[in-house]
């Protein structure tokens, strides 16, 4: 059985073009399982249109409280113990504010409170037109993205990789530095960071790098839209040098990337000879080398 390597693509800041680049890079790798872990706003499936959904699994999240008014004796204990102001004067629980801690449920003297698990989203396992496995998930709107669904997607992806004996899992990670990102980073072999040469891009790059260092993961940086501001490209290069991060290269700003997205395809298929496509192919080669070593 092949050793399974996992690579995640993250960005810190949203809108750096991470998913477009992930989609293009993905198409260059052979023999892999694709996992979209941006469960808050899964987008990869717009470009890698799955041909067939093999299975759909319900994702059960945390529990939520509901008060049975016919059993309620209006003692007010629940309202006193709830730290999230989730229970109204009329003893109705607001599901949006309820964190599902269960304090009211356990402490209600009349046992008037139901505390049941809630459906929080779905996880899909699909086949791409190239007959590769593609796992993605959708969180129901407003549900807590605790990172559990991300972990679930990664588990399913690993199962698929084992089942189909593929050596690589490519993960499109969520934005930010919170729980879902942490879930998408833990235990991966390599993290690719896509950033942009703007103050916000640099700011968020530093924050995600702190996190990655924390987990001691091998990481490399790609600058997208590199011609917007050469000064910041230099700053990013310097930062990488100081932090011991591999600097993989630049992808110039290209409106064709957006055009490709509108046509629901990757830049490589849409404009194979464009500068951006060439840059992505270069970066792919370098990543392959890195993956051989990790």
């Amino acid at each position: 059985m092949t050793d399974i390597k996992e690579m995640v693509i993250v960005s810190g800041k949203g809108g750096t073009g991470k998913t477009s680049i992930a989609a293009a890079l993905t198409s260059l790798f052979k023999d892999k399982v694709i996992a979209d872990c941006d469960v808050d706003a899964a987008n990869l499936h717009i470009i890698i249109t799955p041909e067939e959904v093999v299975s759909q699994k319900e994702f059960i999240g945390g529990k939520k409280a509901r008060i049975n008014l016919d059993r309620c004796i209006q003692c007010n204990v629940c309202r006193d113990v709830c730290r999230y102001d989730a229970i109204s004067e009329k003893f109705v629980v607001d599901p949006v504010s309820c964190e599902g801690c269960g304090a009211c449920y356990y402490l209600c003297p009349a046992k008037a409170i139901d505390f049941t698990p809630q459906l929080a989203g779905y996880c899909y396992i699909c086949r791409t037109p190239l007959n590769e496995s593609f796992v993605f998930a959708e969180l129901l709107p407003g549900e807590e993205n605790s990172g559990k669904l991300v972990a679930e997607v990664r588990n399913e992806a690993r199962e698929e990789a084992k089942k189909r004996d593929t050596g690589l899992i490519l993960i499109d990670g969520p934005p930010g530095i919170g729980c879902p990102v942490i879930s998408s980073l833990t235990g991966v072999n390599f993290a690719l960071i896509v950033t942009e040469p703007t103050p916000t891009g640099v700011h968020d790059l530093k924050r995600i790098c702190d996190l990655i260092n924390h987990f001691k993961i091998k990481a490399a940086v790609v600058v997208n839209k590199s011609d917007i501001n050469p000064d910041y490209v230099e700053e990013i290069k310097r930062y990488c040098e100081n932090e011991g991060l591999t600097y993989l290269g630049e992808i110039p700003y290209d409106s064709k990337i957006t055009e490709a997205q509108k046509n629901m395809t990757t830049i490589l298929d849409f404009a194979p000879d464009s500068e951006a496509s060439r840059a992505i192919k270069e970066i792919h080669k370098k990543i392959q080398k890195i993956l051989e070593d990790v």
Partner: protein, 325 residues
């Protein structure tokens, strides 16, 4: 660089006079001061990077320039970026704390009650010790209440900080910065929002995405402005974000950023769901460049002032329609 004291020399001031004299003259009517005062406008987007922060800071700047009292609250605590553009002078920094259990080992009998009650798996029993995973704790206090020997007390733990100060044009600025590796965005957002000031127009920059922190941010806003782009990704995420705002019963308007020719699926979606377009901002490399230098767009590219005036007027209309409902 920013000649704020000499207002007549300020670039935006010049722009107002030269380009669009009518704006200054028309000002009292279109804003109707007393009504505009207590608005709370949240900026959300679903997808990150659609220009939510850009639109929010520029509107804040525009309103402040129109002599409104403006407060800017950055609730995107994982990646707070508003300060890069508004360059506030931070006057006060308060650590943000949440409750966390502290276990008195002498009293603990390792009965495991706390472990089995905690819904967030923040406690585990290893050998005869209860261990706490602070990052998982929601600070609900249940473990302290149910511990049969009273071995659990509540202490505090720092998850980030809230900073406030004054930015350009006297804009009152507040933002929260979540510590790296810290997952509890919710409580920090609450603490940013404790700083609401009365009599101000509040511009709130919500986190991207559609999950719990977004709900926490927009739950008490008067209206939600969705900033989107004409792309399939952004549209997909817009739909989810709109459904979140709809479950909260908020008036919703849309700003189309980086517009470059019609993107029919977006237009169809907006008209089908009766979502008003509050303003459109064209795709322009100059905007991208100003953004990349951390500048306020309407200060450097005054031709876009009209877009933000339109946005302000339309937000006001959106709220008036709501009153009639």
């Amino acid at each position: 660089m920013y000649a704020l004291s000499a207002e007549h020399e300020h670039p935006i001031s010049r722009a107002f006079h030269v380009m669009n004299r009518n704006v200054l003259i028309a000002q009292p009517q279109w804003l109707g001061r007393d009504k505009m005062d207590d608005m709370r406008i949240a900026f959300a987007s679903g997808k990150g990077g659609t220009g939510k922060t850009t639109v929010a800071v520029n509107l804040a700047y525009f309103l402040a320039y129109s002599k409104q009292q403006v407060q800017y609250l950055d609730c995107d605590v994982e990646e707070p970026n508003g300060h890069i553009f508004l360059k506030p002078h931070i006057e006060e920094m308060t650590p943000a704390q949440v409750m966390m259990p502290v276990i008195d080992k002498d009293k603990c009998t390792a009965c495991g009650e706390c472990v089995s009650h905690c819904q967030f798996n923040a406690l585990v029993l290893i050998l005869k010790d209860v261990l706490i995973f602070p990052e998982l704790c929601h600070g609900c206090g249940l473990c302290a209440r149910i511990c049969p020997t009273g071995a659990i007390k509540e202490g505090k733990r720092v998850i980030g900080s809230v900073e406030q100060g004054k930015a350009f044009l006297n804009i009152d600025f507040v933002h929260g910065i979540l510590n790296v590796g810290e997952p509890m965005a919710g409580p920090l957002i609450q603490q940013v929002k404790h700083n609401y000031k009365e009599g101000y127009i509040q511009i709130i920059d919500a986190p991207p995405g559609t999950s719990c922190p977004v709900v926490k941010t927009i739950v008490d806003a008067d209206c939600v402005v969705m900033v989107t782009e004409p792309t399939p990704f952004a549209l997909h995420d817009l739909k989810i974000a709109v459904s979140v705002a709809q479950t909260l019963n908020k008036p919703i308007g849309v700003v189309i950023n980086r517009e470059n020719g019609e993107f029919k699926p977006l237009m169809d979606y907006l008209s089908k769901n009766r979502l008003p377009i509050l303003a459109t901002i064209p795709e322009d490399k100059n905007i991208a460049r100003q953004y990349s230098e951390g500048n306020i767009i309407i200060e450097r590219l005054p031709q876009y002032i009209d877009n933000f005036m339109e946005l302000a007027i339309n937000i006001k209309k959106l709220l008036e329609i709501k009153q009639f409902r």
